[in-house]
């Protein structure tokens, strides 16, 4: 029982990342009709926003310490971050410690701008082209973006820690009456889950309760009619692209402490997120969220030893297996609308 609860918790957390990326992916597909394979790269850029903020905050000046030697036997150059010398060692260290949450403020304008430039500069030229062209061009863009990041940041993962207060794990088991250590869960992953819920809630509220959202939803349902009413739907869709990029970026910012960011982390998530969108139903926002969590949980279960000993290798194929089953029984996905990708 405790093992099952543990894997559900794990799945919720994995599902949070899938859901956030898939949400942006399906938002772009639903509004602009573009299959954006560069979406994983946006997630990666978000994670590197964390790395960048951490680097900016730890920008240091060097002082030579004669009493210590470096690896070549020369006097050691000791680095002191500027923030520590400006605000004092304690406050400075605290600011550096909180670099990931601070990176959220940095990432929002950056990601909106990246999304805007991507849409206006490249993707808008592919609206009327076949989906295959869109996939090729966005996939190419993803590779370019990841190589650019590799050029500046290297190929190795870069550790980007969570604030000290969120280090360690919480013992759910004791709370639920199990033995100690039966169900433990890292604090930062709980934060990530809460953050994902907040963003997902925010996007839905924005679409549901604002006039802007209402127009976008109307445009998603019938773009032509909304256009005939004299509303500039294209401009709103461009803004939605920026928002979708920001959602993927924020998912990346907060993911940085979970796994050290590296240049190909976007690709690791992209294919899975695309499967999530297809399973959820192309263009369906609740479908993407539901499928994100569902597949996250299933993936966690499949990596349990008990399951792996029954079906070896199931942890690597479970998502695709479920995708096949769902597409066979419900060709439009869990919550797909009629007419999407069916012309």
């Amino acid at each position: 029982m405790d093992a099952i609860l543990l894997q559900i918790l794990n799945g919720l957390d994995k599902g949070s990342a899938y859901a956030l990326i898939a949400l942006g992916l399906t938002l772009i597909f639903g509004t602009l009709g573009v299959v954006n394979f560069a979406h994983g790269a946006l997630f990666m850029i978000g994670a590197f926003c964390s790395v960048t903020v951490q680097r900016i905050l730890t920008l240091s000046f060097e002082t030579v310490d004669e009493s210590q030697k470096d690896f070549l036997g020369n006097p050691l150059k000791v680095k002191t971050p500027y923030v520590e010398s400006w605000f004092g060692p304690e406050t400075g260290a605290a600011i550096i410690d909180w670099s990931v949450p601070i990176a959220i403020l940095f990432a929002i304008p950056v990601m909106l701008a990246v999304g805007y430039i991507m849409e206006r500069g490249l993707i808008k030229h592919f609206y009327k082209r076949p989906h295959a062209d869109q996939i090729l061009v966005t996939f190419g863009l993803a590779i370019v973006l990841q190589e650019v990041v590799k050029y500046f940041y290297g190929a190795n993962p870069i550790p980007t820690g969570a604030p000290d207060v969120f280090k360690g794990s919480f013992d759910f088991g004791v709370m639920l009456g199990f033995e100690a250590n039966a169900i433990i869960y890292p604090y930062w992953r709980l934060v990530y889950f809460g953050f994902a819920a907040l963003i997902i809630g925010g996007v839905f509220s924005f679409l549901q309760f604002t006039t802007f959202g209402m127009v976008v939803r109307a445009g998603m349902a019938d773009r032509e009619t909304v256009g005939l009413l004299g509303i500039n739907i294209d401009r709103r869709f461009t803004i939605m692209f920026g928002i979708a990029a920001a959602v993927a970026g924020l998912a990346g910012v907060m993911y940085a402490p979970i796994n050290s960011p590296n240049y190909h982390m976007g690709m690791d998530f992209l294919v899975l997120s695309f499967v999530v969108v297809v399973v959820g139903g192309m263009g369906s926002l609740p479908g993407a969220v539901l499928a994100g969590f569902l597949l996250g949980i299933l993936e966690s279960f499949a990596s349990m030893n008990e399951v792996k000993s029954l079906i070896p290798g199931i942890d690597q194929i479970i998502i695709y297996l479920v995708a096949i089953l769902i597409l066979l029984t419900r060709p439009r996905g869990l919550m797909g609308r009629k007419g999407v990708m069916e012309e």
Partner: protein
């Protein structure tokens, strides 16, 4: 009217012969004309450095390439000579190899077996490389070693730690300076016994490919011999990025030690996840929970950040060693590049020098001459103490370092500290040891 000797049949005949000649891979034409594949005929000799220049191990590959360039510079008489000054053999004079200037070509393995084979093949056939070296993965090393055996060139393996490279997949043309999974187990076991006692329950998470399997087998055998119990061995996909679902059940399994048979990005992520789950603060079975990373690399430790602090593992070499050879290498490399070399850089530098020295001593680049010169060769002064290139399997036997993630690093390179230098005798095994059984070394192939 002019009389021409050109006939239709003649043109066809000549055309066919020229066409066949062009189509024939140079590898065959070279061997038919020379005594062995790519026999250098000019004033220079070409070596092929096959390292990951793209993909997840690109940083490690870049460090290998730096070390290769340094080795070439030293062989050609440039720089301060590095470990050529401390090397026990004095055959190398700084005038290239056998009087020929050393040149090199590079290939990108991408850490993919097929890409690595393709780049090695291209360097042999198009660039005339007489020796191939490099790599940062056992899967790649085994694939390229097989190719070099068929092509008739020497393969000096780079960073490859699977028992199979000099075990069931060993080849007469292949040589490994780097240590292996068995040696890690043999070196770590006594240290783990002293630190954590003999009554422990270990849980293994293992990367699901040749290196992971042989390391898991080696470490489990070594710790079980101490009296440890192996609770579980779980294989994780090489492509996995989030290990939480593999780590979460560890505490509940009754294990009090987690062994991470992971390397590269896998190691960074699994260790980060394990620390996030707070495993190291837990008390299980009345004992402090511990994590062991049997194969450490400084470049990887950097990726895991402060999560490596206090965690034990083994390594082939470390820049903080204080023997004359290591100091000479660190000085040479550090002066040129501004930071200390990694263990990958060290092993490939040694391999280049060892190849060059073997050619000098053999008086030829013929692979069979090199094999004869390296087999059973004992040397010193390359940073690992007295070392033997064993004839039976072409594996180097030397001291192994047990290291620990440093608690208070003084710089970004100062991540590991050496806690024990395990003597070579303690990590030596019989050539017919079951973990290395199954393959045949065969005979050298010179491509003639």
């Amino acid at each position: 009217m002019s009389n021409s000797n050109v006939t239709r049949r003649g043109v066809l005949k000549t055309g066919t012969m020229v066409g066949a000649g062009v189509a024939l891979p140079t590898i065959f034409t070279a061997s038919s004309a020379a005594a062995y594949t790519n026999e250098p005929t000019g004033s220079s000799v070409t070596l092929g450095f096959n390292v990951p220049q793209t993909g997840p191990y690109a940083d490690e590959g870049a460090d290998e390439l730096r070390a290769y360039e340094l080795a070439v510079e030293h062989l050609n008489g440039g720089g301060d000579g590095g470990m050529m000054n401390t090397f026990s053999s004095k055959a190398l004079q700084g005038n290239g190899i056998l009087g020929k200037k050393v040149e090199f070509v590079t290939g990108d393995t991408q850490t993919k077996s097929d890409a690595a084979r393709a780049s090695a093949k291209s360097m042999i056939e198009k660039d005339g490389a007489v020796m191939i070296t490099g790599g940062s993965s056992s899967g790649v090393a085994i694939a390229v070693q097989g190719l070099c055996q068929e092509a008739g060139v020497i393969f000096m393996a780079g960073l490859t730690h699977s028992n199979d490279t000099t075990g069931k997949d060993k080849k007469a043309n292949g040589f490994r300076h780097f240590f292996n999974g068995y040696m890690s187990g043999a070196a770590l076991a006594p240290v783990l016994k002293n630190l954590y006692g003999t009554d422990r329950n270990a849980y293994h998470l293992t990367a699901d490919y040749t290196w992971g399997w042989t390391q898991e087998e080696s470490i489990a055998a070594a710790t079980e011999a101490l009296g440890w119990n192996t609770v579980n061995k779980v294989r994780t996909p090489l492509a996995a990025t989030d290990f939480s679902s593999y780590i979460a059940p560890v505490l509940n399994s009754g294990a009090d030690v987690l062994v991470l048979n992971h390397y590269g990005g896998n190691m960074v992520n699994s260790l980060t996840n394990a620390v996030q789950f707070g495993l190291r603060e837990k008390i299980v079975n009345g004992k402090q929970f511990e994590i062991v990373v049997p194969l450490y690399s400084r470049l990887m430790a950097k990726g895991a950040g402060e999560n490596v602090k206090g965690i034990h593992g083994s390594t082939n070499w470390h820049w903080s060693l204080q023997d004359e050879a290591s100091k000479a290498f660190v000085k040479s490399f550090g002066t040129k590049y501004g930071f200390p070399p990694s263990q990958a850089a060290h092993t490939v530098y040694c391999q280049t020098l060892l190849y060059a020295d073997a050619a000098e001593r053999a008086g030829t680049f013929n692979p069979c001459g090199i094999v004869e010169a390296l087999e059973g060769y004992e040397f010193d002064g390359l940073g690992n103490g007295k070392t033997l290139y064993r004839a039976e399997d072409h594996q180097c036997f030397k001291d192994v370092l047990v290291v620990r993630g440093k608690e208070n690093p003084t710089s970004e390179f100062d991540l590991l500290e050496v806690v024990e230098v395990t003597p070579a005798a303690q990590v030596t095994y019989a050539a017919d040891h079951p973990m290395f059984a199954g393959g045949q070394l065969g005979t050298c192939n010179s491509g003639s």
